[in-house]
Subunit: 423 residues, 2 copies
């Protein structure tokens, strides 16, 4: 674990993001329950069982396209100049049980996906067939077995089709329906308490003067946790009162799987949150100060085996703390992989600098000019400037080992909104 | 508009995806209503008004960090070797109204985000201050105005903060809360009818033999449309009956903004869907056959100003039709930009080929081996092989002007699931 010094007086140590995540992961002891729900309501939930097929798919040999089912041996020498004539003895539509049998010199008209009659082994696409009353002429040779979807070609009985721990996507829903897996086991939702703190904080709906701060963080975090496998709960604002804080944190740990507390985490005297966390249960780990900027004040504790995230009260620092530290750990709790995020390469329009040892989250606006992408930093400082998040559409993360990027360098930007085209 | 020939007998013309989208866009006549909802329920909805600030943010000058508010002129010559002494006349905490005034030779302890008392103009970070009872020594010079967040620095009264047409993201929710915009105007949800057709189709919960096809498409499409701004409705399976089809399509056009019909779109005799669509209302446009593979049978009509998508009944072709044609047009209806999708570069593990004039959607599994990404095609043919979608984690799209990619070439993959690391 590498500790980085910050400032010169309070030699405060910052824990690197990867170290914080690794340390916390090791201490977590969360046992999530399993729910059985209808497959068509399972989108975005975490699969809690391996899904195994109990039949071959397809269950019968089928035609891959519209054409004529034939015996491949009959047309081995067919060509446009010496077509092969076959007698058409019937037709199989999709969903029908074939009533005829295949034989030498015979053919059957067949629809895409329709069952191949016994005795036939090959399908000739309709484009290569000339129809003459009850006969057809085949104008091209096809290998035996061509255009036939064989029984079990997609998958076999007993095969694991979806693995435990996968976050169910639309295609998985499709597979569940095909397997007729009507009820499916998923992890219970991860209950997350979002606790705003600070005597200066008021709700958006409350009256307050210019000296008060509007609670924006609870709503941002709630929205960031609005995944089908999470169940965020916005709790009421807690004043800067050690006893009240301790009480709320204690009961929240009992009723939730994870806590996200905002405000009261920096080194000021009113920062009672870490103290309250200490008193709220058995503290297995307490990290204060993480190597991200904004968001250095981010803290995370493990209390009674559960994570208690202490995020800055400043909106942008709160967001970076969530993205860098909270979100990866929430995915770790359910043992699922984080979904891929869109990343683009863009040309940086102005120099950005950072301190060594800190991952700096620069809000940039990526624009498309002609065929090229450009990234313009929206604001360089300020952890409370919310507009920097709404004006930007991505984060440029300057890694801890870099002091920044020069203007015109190519950088990678993690996008969170669409790129607008510019003239 | 470029038409592409396919096969040699039924010279069927395929419309290019971009052309299909452009043609349909021009014909759509959908007037969506506007709803006013609570801001904290607006995530993922389409904003139907410009959001304008009605105050400066911040409303007062604030300290950007923990330190001492001073007059910048007092410390212009301060250094570690000749510190400047100032008298501390009080403290301002966050949320408090300052009771003192700034003056020459004076300082006030100030918290991050606390209001700067009148008469002071600069904040010295706590790290550069030595505390001596009621006095402090400042060890470094700071420019006048440093570490002060000026009134209106984030945004000004009257500024447009969020623009109409934006799909509301978590940071926009944050901005709405800060602006105390408790009620927000959003577009009504786009009602989408999902209509499975085919006499051979049965629901996953129904009993059926091997010759029947399980309805997977309705569930996949429902999941793909499960965005906060869409409201998908799964309708019952419609048999291959022209009258029944016409009736359902007609009533669905009346009650929905868009229709997605699956099955019955290829050239077979049972393909009654396009005929029923023709009878269901005033047809302004009918496109049959789009240059995607799988999914050539994809069709789209505009009936009474509304889009009627006709997707293949084959699961993978249904999905590619949705992704290539339906989804972009749904975003166009609400006049919003499609969100960025994650795209990665990977080394192709085996050759893939395609026909000119057709955008081929190859399902690939992207794996990380060491630091490198590799893309392995999961299956090359088959529009019904559902497992190719659940085993893969991305699409490699071979553009219409390419005949494919060689093994070991670097390709771009649109990811829809996480990349697993491999030893």
């Amino acid at each position: 674990m590498i500790k980085i010094s910050m400032g010169y007086r309070f030699l405060k140590k910052l824990t690197r993001v990867e170290d914080a995540i690794a340390l916390v992961s090791k201490k977590l002891m969360i046992k999530l329950g399993i729910e059985e729900i209808s497959f068509d309501e399972s989108l975005g939930r975490v699969l809690a069982e391996d899904i195994i097929s109990n039949f071959d798919e397809p269950l019968i040999d089928k035609s891959a396209l519209e054409g004529y089912a034939i015996r491949g041996a009959d047309i081995l020498l067919a060509s446009q100049y010496s077509p092969v004539r076959l007698e058409v003895i019937g037709e199989v539509r999709i969903g029908e049980i074939p009533t005829m049998k295949g034989a030498q010199g015979k053919a059957v008209k067949i629809a895409t996906g329709a069952a191949l009659p016994d005795g036939f082994d090959t399908v000739v696409p309709v484009e290569y067939v000339k129809v003459l009353n009850d006969e057809i002429e085949i104008l091209k040779s096809f290998p035996i077995g061509d255009n036939v979807i064989k029984r079990g070609e997609d998958f076999r009985e007993g095969q694991i089709m979806l693995r435990k721990g996968k976050i169910i996507n639309p295609f998985d829903i499709s597979m569940l329906s095909l397997l007729r897996k009507i009820r499916v086991k998923v992890l219970e939702k991860l209950r997350i308490a979002i606790i705003p703190t600070g005597s200066e904080i008021i709700e958006p709906s409350e009256a307050g003067d210019a000296y008060k701060t509007v609670n924006t963080n609870s709503y941002t975090l709630y929205a960031l946790c609005k995944e089908p496998w999470m169940e965020p709960h916005r709790l009421e604002i807690v004043k800067d009162d050690l006893e009240a804080l301790t009480r709320i944190i204690k009961s929240s740990i009992e009723n939730h799987h994870a806590l996200i507390i905002t405000g009261g985490t920096s080194v000021g005297e009113l920062d009672l949150v870490p103290e309250a966390v200490q008193k709220a249960g058995k503290v297995d780990l307490m990290i204060r100060g993480v190597g991200i900027q904004p968001g250095r004040a981010t803290g995370v504790a493990v209390v009674n085996g559960k994570p208690v995230f202490m995020l800055s009260g400043f909106p942008v620092a709160c967001v970076t703390g969530f993205i860098a530290v909270v979100r990866p750990l929430l995915y770790k709790i359910v043992n699922a992989l984080e979904p891929p995020r869109p990343v683009v390469k863009a040309v940086l329009k102005s120099k950005v600098s950072s301190s060594l040892g800190v991952a700096k989250y620069v809000r940039v606006k990526v624009k498309k000019i002609g065929e090229k992408l450009f990234a313009e930093p929206v604001r360089v400082t300020g952890s409370s400037a919310l507009s920097s998040l709404t004006e930007s559409n991505g984060f440029l993360v300057i890694p801890p080992e870099s002091e920044g990027f020069d203007s015109n360098s190519e950088v990678e930007v993690i996008l969170y909104s669409s790129i607008q085209e510019q003239g």
